[in-house]
Structures are given as structure tokens and as C-alpha cells.
């Protein structure tokens, strides 16, 4: 079995009085594609955000690429974040910068990559998401799906070892979802380690190595997609799947 790149042990997180994550244990192995599913408010996004310390954790341990993020200094946290790409529901492209500068900003400021090297990387990553011709556009000139693909390219430019997707297709019009999922599928095939919070059940079923079902701040059930989708053991998983699959 390959090495584990993310280890989460009895993670707890509250917002005020409300406990969002209660005792989460999860391990992600190298090159594994893990989809996290569950009803809204179950803590999926918060879990993802805890992995890169966008949310501070209240208890337990999160070890990413061998580093316990709770004890990391700011500087080390910043450098760890370059190894963990994050894709957001609302893309969060920088609207005042062209696609090119959206992608190279962190390369230049954080990694001090040379100009010619940046140029090469930009073209590579845009090519891989199929948007090379948009290199000089501003984000507002792109469709939602294109924006999300640029956001993915922006993360990939940092050469991350892990990619996190926080409901990457939830804000898109239905006809634009496919293009983004295709890029994600391709990434998975190339062997990227991915943790994906999603509502796209077909995608989870076809692409994931493992599916994690969360509800009420707990991991209720996890396993290979075939087991989870066709033969769930927990009552809560059954109910959830019945509800979402009926909708389709």
C-alpha cells in the first residue's frame, strides 16, 4: 500500500456553539481519489478547509505531507499550501488580473519563478485545461465553467502534490459542469491525489477510488464506490442516496 499523504485524527471544529465536525478520522493515500458526499451542512467543506488551515482546528490532529499543521509556523504553512491546491465553489479568480497573471502571481511572489519559466508553466497548464486562447482575457470575460478551469490551472501551476475540490461544480450552469468534470477526471487519470467534495454522484461513482459519506459532522461510512452506491450498510447513507439518486 502506498504512503498516506493526509492523516486526520479525531478532528473537531466548532463555529461558536455549533459543532460542525465531531471526531473525524480519515486517511488519504498517495495518488488516491477520494470523493466526500453528504447532505449540506454535514461538514464536508469545513473538513476540506481544515486540511489547508483556512479554518483553525479546535481539536485533534491534521498531518499533511508529514507535517502536523497545528504546530506549523506561518512561513511553513505558506509553503505547505503551495503543495496543496484548492479549488473553490465560486472560483475566486482575481478579477483585476488577466488569466495569465492570475496563474503566475503566486509563482512569482511565492516561488520566485523566473519570467521565462512562468511563461512556459502558464502555457502548459492552460493547455491542459483547454483554455490557452484565453490567456489574455480577464475573468469577467469567461463563462463560469471556463473560470473554474482557469482556477484549476492556477492551482496546478504551483505543482501541488494534493488537490482539494470544494464543490467545484455546484455554482455552474448544468451545461458547463461537464467541461470541469472532464478536467478533473483527466487529473485523476494522471495520478494526482485528490479530495473532492461533490454532489455529482455519477462522477463519484466512476472516478473515485473511495467514497466517504458524511453526516452531522461525522464520517458515517466509507468504502469503494461500488459498495457505497449499490450496497450501503448504514441507514443514513441509504436514505441520503435514495434522496439524491431519485432526483436524477
Amino acid at each position: 500500500m502506498s504512503e498516506s499523504v493526509i492523516t486526520i485524527k479525531s478532528l473537531r471544529k466548532s463555529f461558536g456553539d455549533k459543532e460542525v465536525l465531531s471526531d473525524i478520522n480519515l486517511e488519504i493515500k498517495e495518488k488516491e481519489v477520494v470523493c466526500i458526499i453528504g447532505p449540506s451542512g454535514s461538514g464536508k467543506s469545513t473538513l476540506l478547509r481544515c486540511i489547508t488551515q483556512l479554518e483553525t482546528i479546535d481539536g485533534g490532529d491534521v498531518v499533511v505531507l508529514g507535517k502536523n499543521i497545528k504546530v506549523l509556523k506561518n512561513k511553513d504553512l505558506n509553503s505547505l499550501r503551495t503543495d496543496v491546491g484548492m479549488v473553490f465553489q465560486h472560483f475566486n479568480l482575481f478579477p483585476h488580473l488577466r488569466v495569465r497573471d492570475n496563474i503566475t502571481l503566486a509563482l512569482r511572489t511565492v516561488k520566485r519563478t523566473s519570467k521565462s519559466e512562468c511563461e512556459k508553466i502558464v502555457e502548459d497548464v492552460l493547455e491542459s485545461v483547454g483554455l490557452l486562447e484565453k490567456i489574455d482575457s480577464f475573468p469577467s470575460q469567461l463563462s463560469g465553467g471556463q473560470q473554474q478551469r482557469v482556477a484549476i490551472a492556477r492551482s496546478l501551476a504551483m505543482k501541488p502534490q494534493i488537490m482539494l475540490f470544494d464543490e467545484a461544480t455546484s455554482a455552474l450552469d448544468p451545461e458547463l459542469v461537464g467541461g470541469v468534470l472532464a478536467v478533473m477526471r483527466q487529473l485523476a487519470q494522471e495520478g494526482m491525489t485528490m479530495v473532492i467534495v461533490t454532489h455529482e454522484m455519477d462522477f463519484a461513482r466512476n472516478v473515485a477510488d473511495r467514497v466517504v459519506f458524511m453526516d452531522g459532522g461525522l464520517v458515517v461510512e466509507e468504502g469503494v464506490p461500488a459498495d457505497i452506491f449499490t450496497n450501503p450498510k448504514q441507514e443514513r447513507t441509504k436514505n441520503f442516496l435514495k434522496r439524491v439518486l431519485e432526483r436524477d
Partner: protein
């Protein structure tokens, strides 16, 4: 009718005397308008730097930064500008015994344009105006910073940028785009507020428009200079306010 007509004549002589009007040039521009512009420019730049500093402290996560800057901003904004100017105008010279030019660090001001000889005369006025402008601009800048969606900071941090780098490269450039209108408005207000410096006993050469005009009124026993000063103010403020309106229209069109 007779009374009204002679009244009109008197007003015309008192406020619109062409002789007095003519005699004011070119000094009203070379001294009055020039100094008003100098005060405005220095106070605006000073206020911007100070305001940015205050706004960054005010939006900080650290209580120890947030709290003093919030108190300071409220304090200054709660005081009449005139009072602040009088206090600082009279306190600064006393503090440095009328000879701040001999203090190390200020001597260079003697030799630099636009200060000319004895540049120290600008210090109290500029200092007071910068302080107040900074407090007002801090709130404008803070509103700009807070108008940028949280996701922008999160995306920048996720890419490995430090908080300071994200502020400088992502948040502030967008924030300033949002507040360019309100900041231009501050500039117009500041331009008018320089007239309050006239209460400080400024010597000849350092007078801004209002003080210059009032001295001229005393000398000529005629109020025309006040009208001339007013026209000078309007020549600058009206275009500035047009600019503010333009920025407002643009931001309405631009936000989709």
C-alpha cells in the same frame, strides 16, 4: 426702487470691484492658490499613507492593533476640524520653540521646492490636515477592504501567499478600485478644508487662498477678494466633483 438700486450699486462696488479684482493678480494665484494646492497635496498624500496604516490596523485580527486605531479614528472624526487645526497649529511651534527648521531632519525643507525659504511654515497646517484626512480616509479604505469577498483572501492564501502579500497584490488593488470615487470626494473636501488653516497666523508667502483673500480685504477695505477666492476654489472643486460623479456612474456600469 431708489433704495434697491443704490443697494445694488453698493453691493457691486463692495464685492465686484474690477479695480480690486485686477490688483489681486498674479499674487492670488502665485501665493494663495499655489499654497492651497500645496497644502492639499501634502495633506492628501500624508492622509492616504496614514489612513492606509490606520485601516490595516483597524481590519487586523489582532486586538492590540485594531483597538487603538479604532479609538483614534473615532476621536479625530468626533472633533471639529477647526479645533484640531488650532490645537496642533499652536502646539507644534511651542513644542519645538519656533525653530523647527534647526531641528535635525527638518532643515532640508528649506531648500526644496515648493517650500522655498522657510518651509517650516507649512508643517503645522499640513500635519493637522493629514491627521484628520487620514482618520476619514481610513474609514473609506476600510470599507473598500471589507467590500472585497472573503474568497479572494482565501484563494490567495491557498496559493501560498502570506497575509501581507495577499493584501498588497490582491485585496488593496481591488479595494482602491472600489473607493476611487469616495477618495476623490475626500480630496475635494480636503481642498476646501485647507481654508481652515487661515486661522493660524501664517506669515506672508505661506498664506492659502482664504487667508490671502482676507488680508487683501483688510488692506483694500473691499470684499471683492472673497469672491475671487471663491472662484478659485470652484475652479478646482467643480471638476473634482464631476470626476466623483463620473466614477460613481462607472462603478454602477462596471459591476455586474
Amino acid at each position: 426702487m431708489q433704495i434697491a438700486a443704490s443697494g445694488m450699486e453698493a453691493i457691486k462696488n463692495e464685492f465686484f470691484s474690477f479695480e480690486v479684482f485686477k490688483s489681486m493678480f498674479p499674487e492670488v494665484l502665485l501665493e494663495g492658490a499655489r499654497n492651497t494646492i500645496i497644502f492639499t497635496t501634502i495633506a492628501f498624500i500624508g492622509g492616504m499613507i496614514f489612513g492606509l496604516f490606520l485601516a490595516l490596523c483597524r481590519t487586523s485580527k489582532l486586538k492590540i492593533l485594531r483597538w487603538p486605531s479604532a479609538t483614534f479614528i473615532d476621536l479625530i472624526r468626533g472633533l471639529p476640524l477647526l479645533l484640531v487645526i488650532v490645537i496642533i497649529g499652536f502646539a507644534t511651534p511651542t513644542l519645538v520653540k519656533d525653530s523647527y527648521l534647526s531641528l535635525p531632519g527638518f532643515g532640508w525643507m528649506n531648500d526644496v521646492w515648493p517650500f522655498g525659504r522657510d518651509g517650516a511654515k507649512y508643517i503645522p497646517g499640513c500635519f493637522a490636515l493629514s491627521l484628520v484626512a487620514g482618520a476619514y480616509m481610513a474609514e473609506t479604505i476600510r470599507a473598500g477592504i471589507e467590500s472585497i469577498p472573503k474568497g479572494q483572501m482565501e484563494a490567495a492564501r491557498s496559493l501560498g501567499l502570506s497575509h501581507a502579500q495577499a493584501m498588497r497584490k490582491i485585496i488593496l488593488p481591488q479595494a482602491f478600485r472600489v473607493i476611487v470615487g469616495p477618495l476623490t470626494n475626500e480630496l475635494a473636501l480636503l481642498f476646501k478644508d485647507t481654508s481652515l488653516i487661515s486661522v493660524l497666523g501664517v506669515e506672508v508667502g505661506g498664506r492659502e487662498l482664504t487667508k490671502f483673500a482676507r488680508d487683501f480685504v483688510n488692506r483694500e477695505a473691499n470684499s471683492t477678494p472673497l469672491i475671487v477666492a471663491g472662484i478659485c476654489y470652484l475652479l478646482i472643486t467643480i471638476p473634482l466633483l464631476q470626476l466623483v460623479a463620473y466614477f460613481e456612474r462607472r462603478s454602477k456600469v462596471g459591476s455586474r
